[in-house]
Amino acid sequence: MGSQPRLIEVRKNVLKQNDLNARMLRQQFRAAEVFVVSLVSSPGSGKTMLLEKTLMLLCQNYRVAALVGDLATENDAVRLTRSQAPVKQITTGTLCHLEAAMVQNALEEWDLNQLDFLFIENVGNLVCPSSYDLGENLRLVLLSVTEGEDKPLKYPTIFNSADVAVVTKMDLASAVEFDWQAAYANVQAVRPGMQVLRLSARSGEGMDDYLDFLQKRLKESRVASNLSTASATP
């Protein structure tokens, strides 16, 4: 009995299931006209603090909600509920990133039509979340001044999976001798043309520009979705 090896072509994306789920989420988000922003960063770069302030400030004029990924605790969700916005925790156990299916499960009981903004805080990790599309409109990668200016050079992949970079904890910039020009140049080196915002959620510095930016993007996405709906209608 003899055997011969043979190659058969397959061509399948390994993450096809996640991509399919993300596509379904994207359709759901578009139909409900909710603008979805995800946040990725290393642990301790201020995602939860920024999100807390974002929810508090936006909820005066918009309907906002958040999903937060965390390995084990529900501390982040508890912190965020202070803003009065609906918040749900996704505890990932030992999993180092969120996947689209987890977002789908977490959203099951929520009526997306009742929302303008949905924020998704990923698990603190600059490596793994980069491979997983969550169907979001906008992915922010956070970089705190205390982490050093060279973070983009060390993690080019996550900067390439994100849309906009946000430098956080700017109130500490002078204390840690943070070099903004160098940080900006490093972002541009790994992702030419990337928009970089800077702010401090604690002091409020830069928060107006950041909130204006989010509101502008919400409006743009609604205009774009209305246009595509109008052109699809005979």
Binding site: M1, G2, S3, Q4, P5, R6, L7, I8, E9, V10, R11, K12, N13, V14, L15, K16, Q17, L95, C96, H97, V127, C128, S130, S131, L153, P156, T157, I158, N160, S161, Q188, A189, V190, R191, P192, G193, M194
Partner: protein, 120 residues
């Protein structure tokens, strides 16, 4: 470290194909982009471990690593970058954020054993 879950997805995909075609898989050929977020060495180790107790036990994972290519507007063509820390055209130095290759994480082929029944 998410290579184990990636390895499990690869195995699941290969098993589906092998069951559908009724063949035994001896190797999985994978294209892995430099921006896929997956580390080759960690993936190889995870794959070997995850194959135990499955129909793919002993199968090899053959990884083809793909470098990043950008579209360079100055050259009007796809070009490699200076380095993973510098997304500039390797030939003319023009920066470009338009990545055209490097995010791949794709099973491209399966090596299968076909038993030659005529000689049984």
């Amino acid at each position: 470290m998410h290579e184990l879950s990636i390895a499990l997805s690869i195995i699941e995909l290969a098993q589906e194909e092998s069951e559908r075609r009724g063949v035994q898989v001896s190797a999985v050929h994978l294209k892995l982009g430099a921006l896929s977020g997956v580390v080759k060495e960690a993936l190889l180790g995870s794959f070997e471990m995850a194959c135990e107790d499955t129909s793919l036990k002993g199968a090899r994972l053959v990884v083809e690593e793909l470098p990043v290519l950008i579209f360079c507007t100055a050259c009007g063509a796809q070009r490699p970058i200076s380095s993973i820390q510098l997304f500039c055209c390797v030939d003319c130095g023009t920066p470009s954020g338009e990545v055209v290759q490097g995010k791949e994480l794709e099973v491209v082929a399966l090596e299968i054993e076909e038993w030659d029944r005529s000689r049984v």
